[in-house]
Amino acid sequence: MDLFLQFLTNGLVVGVFYALSALGLTLIFGLMRVVNFAHGEFYMLGGVVGWFVTTYLGLDFFSGLVLVALAIGSFGWLVDRFLIERVRGQGEEPGILLTIGLSIFLVNITLLAIGPAPLKVARAITEGPIFLGPVTITKMRLLAMVIGIALIVGAHAIIHRTRLGSAMRATFQDPMAASLAGIRTKQVYAATFALGCTLSALSGMLLASIYSAQASVGGLVSLKSFVVVILGGMGSFPGAIAGGLLLGVAEALWGGYVATGMVDIIGFLLVILILVLRPQGLFSIRAERA
């Protein structure tokens, strides 16, 4: 029983992390319908820029986090205005090719600039285990979970409670009607892409302070994030949380009771099951799309 509680806790923590790292993709892939293969690279940039600002600019963790959000957000804005905009409305394939190219470019630029070594991002608080009965967790993990949940709630609020959010939803439902209604859709696209990139980068820096930042982490992050988004349902924040938790807990229990060496199987098994039984995902917002 003690073991089960620890496995469950591990799964929930990792699940929140998965949901967090998939947030950006939920927006960009789920809502904007840009199949963003560079998602993991924005996550990676968050960690690497986070390492840079805390190590070389001497910022503390939270100021660093703000600076990373601003830097990667602006970068995401520029990427949308100068790259994604050129292929918008031409179907999914040009966007896929573009983001694959972008991901290769970003990885190699990072390799060129700082090399392949794993990097250590300063932690927000001193690390130490906390024992809750039979269950062990660390302070930094708890903090990351709290920040993660805050980000998820915040992003959900932006989409559903603000004028910008309404404009976003209108634009992705019907760009023509939205622009006839006076919404500057170009700005909305760019803002959504920038927000998605910011969320990816924030999760990248947060998790890099727990694990480590490295130029080559992007591929795995992209893969897991696609699993989470598909499990949860495209563009749905509750779905991303459910998908993340489901994946995290399933991996923890599989690893705990079967074998840790084959833990990556379980995510894809889940995706296949979901696609067979409930192709729209656990929480679908399909009705919102024409």
């Binding site: 591990n10 923590v13 070594a117 250590k120 062990t136 480590s212 923890a252 690893g255 705990g256 060496g261």
Partner: protein, 383 residues
């Protein structure tokens, strides 16, 4: 008149033969050695260290006048640790660059792929890294391994671990590939033979970041010692999380553990862990101190396992070319077989199968952020 013509002809002949003699020398005013290492991809970080060590060796060789009176030129290609890319790299090095000797290709699977290519072109191939035992069992006469194998390391250290650390039960954790599984198997076999119980055997995938599930099982198994086969990235995160989970067992690992990067990444969680490594910069011999000083002056970091591997592989190769007295492949191969190279970490010789022995492997304990040598044991020739 006749004499004059003859004189001219003679002069022309001498000139012509002079050109003929100097022609190839001009075309080959350097001795080329091809190096295939992963410079991109998941082990690029370690591949880069090999290249750094190799460059330092070449610099030192050339400062002393090179080999055969010519400077050594290192031609580096990215094999990405992938068999196909490594084969392409070797084809290019042989066909276009016409290298005399090949060094590479880091990952055992990639090295296994380029071995037949080296044999096809009859070019000697030296690896300083690839440790899969199967490589030297293929009877490829062109292949030489200037590195330890898991089996040799396990043999060198099993007794020390069982007796000096007084381990009764050990949990084995390894990265889920040839190397990790091989390391776990070899160490568990040799330790079991000495009466050490196996508490748990688990594997994890490359690039895993969260080990809490694995560590939960491990903590429940309550082993005296934990054996880990992992490289810098995975290993440092694993050791950090061991501390976060409050696991008290003694940890000992194989892989690039005793490096400055590992200790920096792991922080104080690295205190007290043991690492069985073929090389560590703190070995106190004059040859090693000179090497460390030169490496540190050039790269601002102390050399690790892979830096030393690149350095040794290049020196062994260059020495063999000098011994051979030419860049003739057959002569170099014979010279490689007779290698007696004094490395920073002992002396390298090769068995008939091309497996190196005679160099020292060390067991270190990380104390105060530096690896302290606990024991060293020469790697013996396999039976």
């Amino acid at each position: 008149m006749y004499r004059y013509v003859l004189g001219c002809a003679l002069a022309a002949g001498v000139a012509a033969s002079g050109i003929a003699a100097s022609g190839p020398a001009n075309a080959q005013d350097s001795v080329k050695i091809g190096l295939v290492e992963p410079l991109t991809g998941s082990v690029a970080y370690n591949g880069k260290s090999v290249v750094e060590g190799a460059k330092l060796a070449v610099e030192q060789i050339n400062a002393k006048g090179g080999v055969l009176g010519k400077p050594v030129e290192l031609v580096i290609e990215d094999g990405q640790c992938a068999p196909a890319n490594s084969v392409n790299a070797v084809e290019k090095l042989v066909q276009k660059d016409k290298v005399a000797v090949l060094v590479g290709a880091f990952c055992s699977s990639a090295t296994a792929a380029i071995m037949p290519v080296a044999a096809k072109y009859k070019i000697p191939l030296v690896t300083g890294v690839s440790s899969s035992a199967a490589l030297t069992e293929q009877n490829n006469p062109w292949f030489f391994r200037a590195a330890e194998t898991d089996a040799l390391m396990a043999k060198a250290f099993a007794k020390i671990l069982a007796n000096d650390l007084k381990l009764k039960s050990v949990a084995y954790v390894g990265v889920n590939d040839d190397w990790g599984r091989g390391g776990v198997e070899e160490f568990s076999r040799d330790l079991s033979a000495l009466g050490v119980k196996t508490a748990l055997t688990e594997y994890f995938d490359h690039g895993s970041t969260d080990f809490f599930t694995l560590l939960t099982k491990l903590r429940a198994a309550k082993p005296d010692g934990i054996f880990v086969a992992a490289e810098t990235q995975d290993g440092s995160i694993l050791v950090k999380q061991l501390q976060e989970m409050g696991v008290q067992s003694k940890v000992f690992g194989v892989g690039s553990w005793a490096t400055a990067d590992f200790i920096n990444l792991t922080g104080d969680a690295a205190e007290g862990i043991y690492a069985a490594v073929p090389y560590v910069s703190s070995v106190d011999t004059p040859r090693n101190q000179d090497f460390v000083k030169a490496y540190e002056a050039k790269y601002k970091v102390k050399p690790g396992k892979y830096g030393a591997a690149g350095y040794n592989a290049l020196n062994i190769t260059a020495q063999a070319i000098a011994q051979a007295g030419s860049t003739d492949a057959e002569a170099i191969r014979t010279a490689l077989g007779k290698t007696d190279y004094k490395a920073p970490n002992g002396e390298y010789r090769f068995t008939a199968k091309g497996q190196a022995y005679g160099f020292d492997a060390v067991l270190v304990r990380i104390e105060g952020g530096t690896p302290k040598v606990v024991a060293s044991s020469p790697v013996e020739a396999p039976q």
